[in-house]
Subunit: 314 residues, 2 copies
């Protein structure tokens, strides 16, 4: 049975960008990830919210094929809240407020379906929790994680242990350099691959994303958009498209062609996600739009061979 | 008759990077450009040097099919000298010394062959000079230019006039944003295309390069290298591979497939250039190595279509 488990944050986000602002939107890494992945495979969402979390949101997620039985609700608790803004350099999020609330004591409990999913994504949470969840997912043939500078600074050794236990690592380029203390991204990726993972995905913001494996290298530009309205959740949407595709296709992380298609679906979902605030765009997205943009990516990056008989001068 | 004219600096460079240092190497934008282009087409180099410029260098260039009759030698003058260094962030050149010397009064004089070449590259010199040279190149079916932050700050209007008179603009992303006052690269490129050029090439350093035309978008990652020894001249080598290929193939800037192949040859030449100091690597390069790496770029960026019968979940 196909399927995918994600463990991460479910949050309310208040975001201001040069193109507008929104108060208390549905957000969080597990939310963005689940919505993106839901186009390809059933998703088990494992997270925690307070009783300020409107049951309509539960329903919204379930309508997209997302199983929310693993979304724990803490009575009297408040949901994780983040307030941030972006200036014209949309690559940098400026945090104004972080209220962890119930997320501070998050102790993920996985039901049987979640534990047996063939693919698991450990979104950006403490490396200790990532390892505990990974150990519970006995059915997973493919595990992946994301992380952030906070854990690199405070929990580097534990994060490296978590990385050794997964197949795919998603990180942005600055984090990869910081974690490995290696300025060259190719060498940074090789450093991580030597510790266990089959693939490292470097998220490059407006420059797209690169895939490093022991056999090869692949890179995709970001989809060229006139307006990036809100970059929040782009990385999680990328991971959702990537792993959702692999969960749906049944491929593992050793099939280079499948990994490249996964990179492309990741880029597609990230590009839609940033077109509007929060999850607004992805909630209206169709599979047809996704496949059209997938084909656009293929056309956008194709290099035809030389015309026959092309000669050299020197 | 095919051929290409380049007008720009010929210099001595002293460079220090984390991987070593060199004193007074042969350098300059026109030098790096000419050597890269020489694999595809005869090149007319137009520049100026002092009488400290060893005739052996002339011979070196001529052996590569570069016509140096346009390389003026000022008796009693000294050749342009640049001293700079790079830290581990190899995207940023730190200038320690710039001695313009004879380049300060550079007034390019083009002979008949240079004026009639079908392709002309106006390397990074004053926009006024770029325009004067462009006007002299009555035989050029394809003209291109590069520029830099200095001219954007001091000669913006004249630079925009120069841009209106060429077909292809090469600039790095920060310069494109600064020139157009537009943070979004797609809109920055469209702004320039609306002024006349058919194509804008955004040089993205370690992230590669993107091509914007009125019809489309194309992007290539940089070739993944374990060690970038010296990035000096990478942009000019890129332009040399790009325009050299188009000069050799006879294509103009309206053929999207040819432009993509030109982008690929540009990326190939830039990637070889940074493997060693100055021109060391390109001087030893063969056309076979170039074509092998061209094919590697094709494989590196290929996305296969979906396997037949791939279905959607939602």
């Amino acid at each position: 049975m196909p399927g995918l488990t994600v463990v991460g944050s479910v949050a309310f986000d208040s975001v201001r960008t040069p193109f507008g602002e929104r108060e208390r939107m549905l957000g969080g890494s597990a939310t963005h990830f689940s919505l993106a992945a839901s186009f390809f495979t059933p998703v088990n969402l494992v997270g925690v919210v307070g009783d300020d979390f409107d049951p309509d949101y539960d329903e919204l997620l379930q309508q997209r094929g997302i199983d929310t039985r693993g979304l724990e609700r803490i009575a009297g608790g408040k949901t994780f809240f983040w307030r941030g803004h972006y200036d014209y350099d949309l690559n940098t999020a400026h945090t104004d407020t972080t209220e962890l609330n119930v997320f501070a004591n998050f102790d993920p409990q996985l039901g049987e379906t979640a534990r047996e999913a063939p693919v698991v994504f450990l979104a950006n949470i403490q490396p200790q929790l990532q390892r505990r969840v990974r150990a519970q997912c006995t059915g997973a043939r493919l595990a992946a994680l994301d992380s952030m500078n906070l854990w690199i600074e405070t929990e580097r050794d534990e994060l490296l242990r978590a990385i050794a236990e997964v197949d795919v690592v998603f990180m942005n380029d600055a984090e990869l350099r910081m974690l490995t203390r290696q300025p060259n991204l190719l060498l940074a990726a090789r450093d991580l691959i030597a510790r266990g993972p089959r693939a490292v995905v470097a998220k490059l913001g407006e420059y797209g994303a690169s895939l490093y494996t022991s056999e090869g290298f692949f890179s995709l530009p970001a989809y060229p958009l006139e307006t990036v309205v809100d970059p929040t959740g782009a990385g999680d949407s990328f991971a959702g498209g990537f792993l959702g595709y692999l969960a749906g296709s049944g491929a593992d992380a050793s099939d280079e062609g499948e990994l490249r298609r996964a990179m492309t679906y990741g880029s597609v979902l990230a590009s839609f996600n940033v077109e509007r605030f929060g999850c607004e765009r992805v909630l209206e997205l169709t599979r047809e739009e996704i496949d059209e943009r997938f084909e656009e990516f293929r056309r956008m990056t194709a290099i035809e061979a030389l015309p026959a008989g092309e000669g050299s001068h020197a």
